[in-house]
């Protein structure tokens, strides 16, 4: 094609053209570009040169020359519409632009003039499989195979194409035909050569085809014949076990599965296979249960370290089985003696059965009793257990109680454990989780942060801490922390984008949404969507690579993943959240104007930069900053207000308690403190400036300014987009890929309703009702849909009502919306979320019945085990103002009884969970340190920054008093017990 293009030019230009092509192939783009310009100077309409210029520009820097490159390529096609090169180039530019559909179309046109052009065929095939045009892919692959049957890739490509269109039989034949060509060449190799991985993979692929065709006998034959050639032995065994099982040769299958378990005793799939081969699947009859118990007793002897060999029978056997309790006992003891902090995670599946929970509870009580007795041993043991065993028991017990919703008991246990070994990270993390379940997100974040600081090299603790700070609406702190584990030489934000860190941007987006920062929420959440797009594009390189490397099994898996990628849970969550943001923006257009103009923000940024320039350079995130910045309990008071942290404010309030509240002694001490603080302040002014500058730098680094190269750091441009159009794209993807997801259906409904697409909305509602007929949200959606139809303009309503009428009759009979809703509320009177949904709809369709509905919501029988449901009810009632005041009061009273630790209901509890953080910090844990202790005098350490001496706040005092009272009570109880026993 190059020759034909050059032939249209005079000889001199022809050779320049050839030189240009060579320079392009050698990636010498500058040289190629000057050659192109040279030819175009004489022949401005030479199509191929125009096209090549576009291609060269696009290869040089696609982002910068995208439009110019496409224009040049289009111009070239105008000049010579039949030129193969021009169409090929046009396709290549589209391909660089990741527009694979257009690229495939261009290659199709190009291929018409030269149906056996291998290069274009290859390019076309790659694009077709990327856009999942499997029939087209098969045609192209067939053409490639016939054009060049000696190439391995072409054979395999053809086989894969047949497989993808579902012609497995033909794929198998083609695969056999190709494999038939191998041995002849292989025999020449010396026997000692490297094992042939490619061949091994091909045989396994062949087995996979046979298995998919359910030709068990043939598959077994392949496996047996090629045993020596297949290198991946575990997969070979797995396939063999499966095939034998399907052939009904259960004993042989059992042998295979046992061999697999010997190889890796923790693979659940192999255990299930073994159980199935032994006929132990499904409900266990008493006889089967005995066999199951015996089987695992045997396996445990063989694999004493295997956890799965314990958990499998524990999950499968009923709690009443005689072997259940001893097995559980043995398992738990082993976990505790070994010191396994993750033991609870292994035991979690047992919590599905209340009887099993009862056994666990009983065993735990026994352990605690035995280990806290003077003998310090497990019942029945003749030796003392290790000193740390009791901590692991307590850790498990705390999680056990937490799981059962007994938060206060769980807290008591975990606090005892923390007193025993205050240096154990897992205990603090556990306490954080309990706080989270209590509904106190701030306390949870602070405790998780305390855990994180115990080991700054622990990535998991850091990650958890970041997540918890985001849940506590502190994206600034979270951004600072997440940077600790980002690459040092790049900006943390960019690094997280490169790593496609979906959970972080999802949680960050949610936090911004909760905080009402819509533009930032959009910016974060759209990143998650962008990452998914990147993942889809990333497949492109693998289409040829996998064929070359013969990893066909993995390739098929990747193609499957590409199909189901929109069911990824992070993407789904982000899409649902994005739709919520877009709906908010659509409902309240005033949100779409940023609170501050860009000019204003720029000025602020400049001021901050100036402030930063004045002070010394911010220190790297070293020990100093790290210990200081992120622990509210240790906050320096002169930093108050600089660091946006919930707890700081609380602390300040405590310190600034009015002098009247204090005893005379306290007052004296406070005065002394103030004097010393002043002295210190004067002395350490420089230190303060540095601290302020560091804090300013911290603010600047925060989420608001993530990247210097970012053109739209505040996301304001995103607010200008049409929210419903953006939401509709996501809703379509959600519904298409997850039709069985209630959340996806409801999100799609919200979008369709706002866009006035009543038929689409109806489809979503019907979908939601099909998944969860009793879902309160689906009920709301149904009523809102027909309510909007009723309210719509007569022109619309007439036509739509006609179409929707039969559905309405089918879904709610002849009832009015109010009647239907009343019936719903009557049916679901005991479920708080359902009654709340009904109440919301009462507000919409039958406002006069609100009082009765309110009464129903706070009635004693209306309840929910989920704190979130209570929170929603609380928010709705609070939103009603005076109309809901009485009901709100009632709800709070009931909530306080049900969730005694939740700050939402028990205002006095806010911060109660962080009290012990002070104790953990040494205040006032030791009996020798009295509250209100004077800080050390300054002249002791003239060269050092002031010692971190936190004045005991009013709360600190309360904590101390409580502890003293508890101690006294314990002593009295002990004395009474002693008196009783003697």
């Amino acid at each position: 094609m190059m020759d034909s293009a050059a032939a249209k030019l005079p000889q001199r230009e022809g050779s320049i053209f050839k030189g240009m092509i060579k320079a392009y192939d050698d990636k010498e783009y500058k040289k190629a570009l000057s050659s192109a310009d040279l030819i175009l100077a004489g022949f401005p309409n030479h199509a191929e040169t125009l096209a090549m210029k576009g291609l060269i520009l696009s290869s040089q820097d696609h982002a910068a020359h995208k439009k110019e490159a496409l224009d040049l390529a289009k111009e070239a096609i105008k000049q010579d519409i039949r030129s193969l090169l021009c169409w090929h180039v046009f396709g290549m530019i589209h391909r660089t632009d990741k527009n694979y559909t257009e690229a495939a179309r261009c290659f199709q046109v190009a291929i018409r003039s030269d149906p056996s052009n291998l290069r274009i065929l290859n390019d076309l095939a790659q694009c077709q499989v990327q856009i999942r045009d499997y029939p087209g892919f098969l045609r192209t692959r067939h053409a490639l195979m016939t054009a060049q049957p000696t190439q391995k890739q072409n054979w395999l490509g053809f086989v894969v194409a047949l497989h993808l269109v579902g012609q497995r039989q033909k794929a198998l034949e083609a695969c056999n035909a190709y494999l038939g060509t191998i041995p002849a060449t292989k025999k020449e190799l010396p026997p000692s050569s490297e094992p042939d991985v490619e061949q091994s993979e091909l045989f396994l692929y062949k087995v996979q085809l046979q298995v998919e065709l359910e030709r068990w006998a043939e598959a077994l034959q392949t496996l047996d014949q090629q045993e020596a050639d297949i290198i991946d032995k575990p997969v070979w065994l797995q396939q063999r076990a499966l095939v034998l099982f399907k052939l009904g040769r259960l004993q042989d299958a059992e042998v295979c599965y046992r061999e697999l378990i010997d190889f890796n005793s923790e693979c659940h799939a192999d255990h299930y296979g073994l159980q199935e081969a032994l006929g132990l699947k499904g409900d266990l009859t008493p006889e089967k249960a005995d066999r199951m118990a015996a089987l695992y007793q045997d396996l445990r002897q063989k694999h004493p370290a295997s956890i799965t060999c314990f958990t499998m029978p524990l999950i499968a056997l009923p709690a009443s089985h005689p072997s259940f309790r001893p097995t559980l006992d043995c398992f738990l003891r082993r976990c505790f003696v070994k010191g396994m902090p993750a033991a609870f995670i292994e035991a979690k599946p047992l919590y599905a059965s209340p009887e099993k929970v009862a056994v666990i509870d009983e065993l735990l009580r026994g352990y605690v009793e035995g280990l806290t007795s003077p003998a310090q041993r497990f019942a029945g043991d003749d030796h003392e257990a290790g000193a740390a065993v009791i901590v692991f028991v307590w850790l498990f017990q705390a999680q056990h109680l937490d799981r059962r919703g007994l938060f206060q008991e769980a807290l008591a246990v975990i606090e005892g454990a923390i007193r025993h070994t205050p240096t154990m990270l897992d205990l603090l993390a556990c306490k954080s989780r309990i706080a989270k379940h209590c509904g106190d997100v701030k306390a949870a974040a602070q405790w998780m942060d305390a855990a994180r600081r115990m080991d700054l090299a622990d990535r998991s603790a850091n990650t958890n801490s970041v997540k918890y700070w985001l849940r506590a609406d502190e994206p600034v702190v979270a951004a600072r922390l997440v940077a600790l584990f980002a690459k040092q030489d790049s900006e943390a934000h960019e690094h997280l984008c490169d790593m496609q860190c979906m959970w972080y941007f999802l949680e960050k987006g949610r936090a911004h949404h909760r905080m009402g920062e819509y533009s930032m929420a959009l910016k974060s959440l759209r990143l998650v969507d962008k990452f998914l797009g990147e993942m889809i594009d990333d497949q492109f390189e693998f289409h040829n690579y996998c064929l070359r490397k013969c990893t066909l099994r993995a390739y098929m898996q990747m193609l499957d993943l590409g199909q189901s990628i929109y069911t990824n849970r992070y993407w789904m969550a982000a899409a649902v959240e994005l739709i919520k943001v877009y709906c908010d923006l659509a409902d309240r257009p005033e949100l779409r104007t940023p609170r501050k103009s860009p000019a204003e923000l720029a000025r602020e940024a400049a001021e901050e930069a100036a402030k930063k320039a004045q002070g010394p350079a911010p220190a790297p995130f070293d020990l100093d900053l790290d210990l200081d910045l992120v622990c509210p309990a240790r906050q320096r008071t002169h930093w108050d207000g600089v660091i946006p942290m919930g707890a700081v404010g609380r602390w300040v309030v405590a310190v600034a308690a009015s002098p009247e509240d204090l005893s005379p002694e306290e007052r004296k001490k406070a005065k002394l403190r103030a004097k010393q603080a002043e002295k210190r302040k004067a002395k350490k002014e420089d230190h303060d400036t540095a601290a302020t500058a560091a804090a300013a730098a911290l603010l600047e680094e925060s989420s608001l300014k993530t990247s210097k190269t970012d053109e739209d750091p505040y996301g304001h441009k995103l607010l200008a987009l049409d929210p419903l159009a953006e939401a509709a794209r996501l809703a379509k993807l959600l519904e298409e890929h997850s039709p069985r997801s209630l959340e996806a259906r409801l999100a799609a409904f919200e979008v369709s309703l706002r866009r006035g697409k009543y038929l689409l909305a109806l489809r979503s509602v019907r979908g939601a009702l099909a998944v969860a007929p009793e879902s309160p949200d689906a009920h709301c959606a149904l009523i809102r849909l027909f309510h909007s139809v009723d309210q719509a303009s007569p022109a619309v309503a007439g036509r739509v009502a006609e179409l929707l009428g039969p559905h309405r009759a089918e879904l709610m009979g002849q009832q009015s919306l109010a009647q239907f809703n009343r019936a719903w509320m009557g049916r679901h009177g005991t479920s708080m979320p359902s009654v709340l949904a009904g109440l919301r709809m009462v507000g919409l369709v039958e406002a006069e019945a609100e009082a009765a509905a309110l009464g129903q919501l706070v009635a004693p029988e209306c309840t929910s085990p989920k704190l979130a449901d209570w929170r929603h009810a609380h928010a709705y009632l609070a939103g009603l103002g005076t109309r809901g005041a009485a009901a709100l009061q009632e709800l709070v009273a009931r909530g306080a009884a049900r969730f005694p630790m939740a700050p939402l209901f028990v205002a006095a509890r806010a911060g109660a969970l962080t009290d012990d953080l002070l104790v953990l910090e040494g205040l006032p844990s030791g009996s020798t340190v009295a509250p209100g202790q004077t800080p050390p005098e300054e002249d002791d350490d003239a060269d050092e920054p002031p010692e971190e001496y936190i004045p005991i706040s009013a709360r600190g005092q309360a904590v101390y008093e409580r502890m003293q009272a508890a101690k006294a009570a314990a002593a009295a109880a002990a004395a009474a017990a002693a008196a009783g026993s003697s």
């Binding site: 290790g386 901590v391 205050p422 080991d455």
Partner: protein, 205 residues
């Protein structure tokens, strides 16, 4: 002096826990070095064991110092005890030695001190090792006397916030200690030449 004397607190020995049976052997790992990554654990340990808090600077100095001067005791991946020293010209001063209460009476403090004595003996420039003990803390004095520490002087009004507020200085002559060791080694050498216990990590899980 980097740390003001008023802040130096010596471990209060708790009353002996009664035990009716042999103490189980703990698999303690002494090989972890103190770094800025795990310094918070040492802080939590000291808070739990000592009645007064050390300042930020104390921990910054610990991290900066020669890692040999701080020995940590880890059990089941948790810090349960530590000894921390600093060099003052030709003397080695023991700043802190503590073990979490539930893990006491298991020879962890003894091993920590023995390991530190090894460190001290290896550095020829050191002539003396010393520490301060609250005058009421007989338990600690008994403990240190086992290792050849001798009561030197009493300092009145040493502690600002503790009662009694005076302390003893306990010292050990390192030159004599080295001579004793050499003599003992010479006697033992012809028989079996038992190498002294290496201060390297003995056990790890």
């Amino acid at each position: 002096m980097a740390i003001p004397s008023s802040k130096i607190i010596v471990c209060r020995y708790d009353p002996v826990v009664e035990r009716h049976h042999p103490v189980p052997e703990l698999k303690v790992n002494y090989g972890v070095h103190v770094t800025e990554k795990n310094i918070e654990q040492l802080r939590k340990l000291n808070i739990a064991c000592f009645p007064v808090r050390y300042g930020e600077q104390f921990y910054r100095d610990v991290v900066k110092r020669d890692p040999k001067l701080t020995i940590l005791a880890y059990y089941a991946d948790n810090l349960i005890g530590a000894i921390g020293c600093r060099v003052e010209e030709n003397k080695l001063y023991i700043m802190t030695l503590c073990v979490l209460k539930p893990y006491r009476r298991m020879h962890i403090g003894r091993i920590l001190l023995e390991k530190m004595l090894e460190v001290a003996a290896a550095d020829e420039s050191l002539t003396e090792m010393y520490l301060n003990v609250q005058t009421s803390n007989e338990c600690a004095m008994a403990f240190y006397s086992q290792f050849g520490f001798e009561k030197d002087a009493e300092i009145r009004n040493y502690y600002r916030r503790l009662e009694p507020n005076s302390c003893f200085v306990l010292t050990k002559d390192l030159v004599a200690f080295r001579q004793q060791r050499a003599a003992a080694a010479a006697v033992a050498a012809p028989i079996a030449a038992p190498a002294p216990v290496a201060p390297s990590p003995a056990a790890s899980d």
